[in-house]
């Protein structure tokens, strides 16, 4: 009988409609955006050629330039380290505010959430713009910018760790007559210490990447050299700097992964 042949479908009619609608909206937005930006396909076609041209000018890297990169590179690492340390100091109170089980009341909880959100929404380079005005051009502005950007990340993730701790231990310490500081040190800290170390190292790794760009707005680090070399069309030097950055970033990633492996 013909009615025996039934078709199997993964979704019912309503969900199918919803999914096609989602695709349609995405397509319309994509095409609309393309139209809005007013780019002819011709322009997009030249991209591979231009990029190829750039790459051919960068090769070979200017090895003699490597010596001049060492000092700014060390400055970059200083910015990343100091920024991470500063962020950690600032993030612990923020995390305590933003965790539902340690925050004193609703208002402080929202305060914590607002700090986390604002810190995360504003890019490092924008923070750097602000702190160059405050501290003047130089690596100090960069370190503070890195710290402010990292507070949101550390505060959010550390807050989530604090929310998951065993509160019985905290109550036990309190019951033994501990002061709030002692409760923090003996009830909460030991439980989040591995996460604290892991997250800090992870953020440090991200901060090494981020601190390579601070030079573009005058906040120190290897970005200054890169910016100068690009503006002088010294493509060989640019290639050297890029290789150095690549090396440092990969090295920090390896160190970070190893350290996180230790505390896990």
């Amino acid at each position: 009988m013909s009615s025996e042949t039934r078709e199997w479908r993964r979704f019912d009619r309503r969900r199918r409609l919803g999914r096609s609608l989602g695709w349609l909206v995405a397509l319309v937005v994509f095409v609309g955006s393309w139209q809005f930006l007013d780019m002819r396909l011709v322009a997009a076609e030249t991209v591979p050629r231009e990029v190829n041209d750039l790459l051919s000018r960068m090769y070979p890297p200017d090895v003699a330039y490597a010596g001049e990169v060492v000092a700014p590179l060390i400055e970059t690492l200083h910015i990343a380290a100091l920024g991470t340390a500063g962020a950690l100091v600032l993030a612990v109170p923020v995390a305590l505010l933003a965790a539902e089980n340690t925050t004193p009341n609703r208002a402080t909880y929202w305060l914590g959430k607002v700090i986390v959100t604002v810190s995360r929404s504003v890019n490092t380079i924008v923070w750097a713009l602000i702190f160059v005005v405050v501290f003047g051009a130089g690596p100090l502005a960069g370190a503070v910018a890195i710290a402010f950007r990292s507070v949101g990340f550390l505060g959010k993730l550390l807050g989530e760790e604090i929310e998951e701790i065993d509160f019985g231990q905290v109550e036990a310490v309190e019951a033994a007559g501990a002061s709030p500081v002692q409760t923090l040190l003996y009830g909460i800290l030991p439980q989040v210490k591995p996460a604290l170390v892991g997250l800090s190292v992870y953020r440090w790794d991200i901060n090494v990447r981020d601190s390579t760009i601070l030079g573009f707005v005058g906040a120190g680090g290897i970005g200054v050299q890169l910016f100068r070399a690009v503006n002088a069309f010294a493509w060989g030097s640019v290639a050297t700097i890029l290789l150095v950055i690549l090396g440092v970033v990969i090295a920090s990633e390896v160190i970070s992964a190893y350290a996180r492996g230790l505390v896990r």
């Binding site: 924008v126 405050v134 760009i213 970033v249």
Partner: protein
Amino acid sequence: MAAGERTWQRPTVFGRRGIKWAVYAAVVAFFAWSAWGVGADPSRIVRGLGRGVTLLGDFFPPDATPRQAQRIVDKMVESVAMAMVATVTGIALSVPVAFMAAENLAPRPLYYLNRGFISISRAFNAIIVAILVVKAVGLGPLAGIVTITFKTVGFFSKLLAEDLEDIDAGSVDAVRAVGASPLQTLCYGVVPQIVPRFAGLSVYRWDINIRTSTVVGIVGAGGIGSVLLTAFNRYDYQYVSAILLAIVLVVLVAEGVSAVVRRRYQ
């Protein structure tokens, strides 16, 4: 017994206590060197704090003339449009890269080639990529799109490749066993297993791309970033705070949309 008195010490991850203290000392020494190298003396910080308070006063209240407000809207729309186009192109390019960067699907040389490409894309900050692309293709949103596309490929391919490496080989074998061609195996054995993750990752990356597209303008790659830099350079701080407010708002909306969509798919 005197020997019965024993103390317990927590084991350390370093294996030996000596190594532990050596690592701690090295880290502290490095921080001290950093503080000295960066020039973070207390008097400078206190002076900076004073100026920070002044600046905060200048920021407040956020304000923009109607023309400035119009400019914020225009450039913000440009940022969002850039993010949209770059997300689509980035993901389109990521799919082949991801398949070639999955250890269980790609031949060795291709695997290393694509892994290398992913590492390069991830190592360089979007601003660095943007400054190079601006030199190559000129100022404007096209540079932004190329930049964000390039960054998207590294992120997306890496995560997608990891998912591809985790797929259940049994269902792939089953499809192959009924006589499917390699292409059919890919379509019916591999792809259905990663579709939900694919959707989640796309939306997640779209969210990140919106954030990125708001700053690449600082080096001339289109979007709201250029307006922000100009306002900063003209010391028009109330306008700056209006722009920052707009950025935070758009980023929050994107984050909200992304969270909702990801929850529905996973």
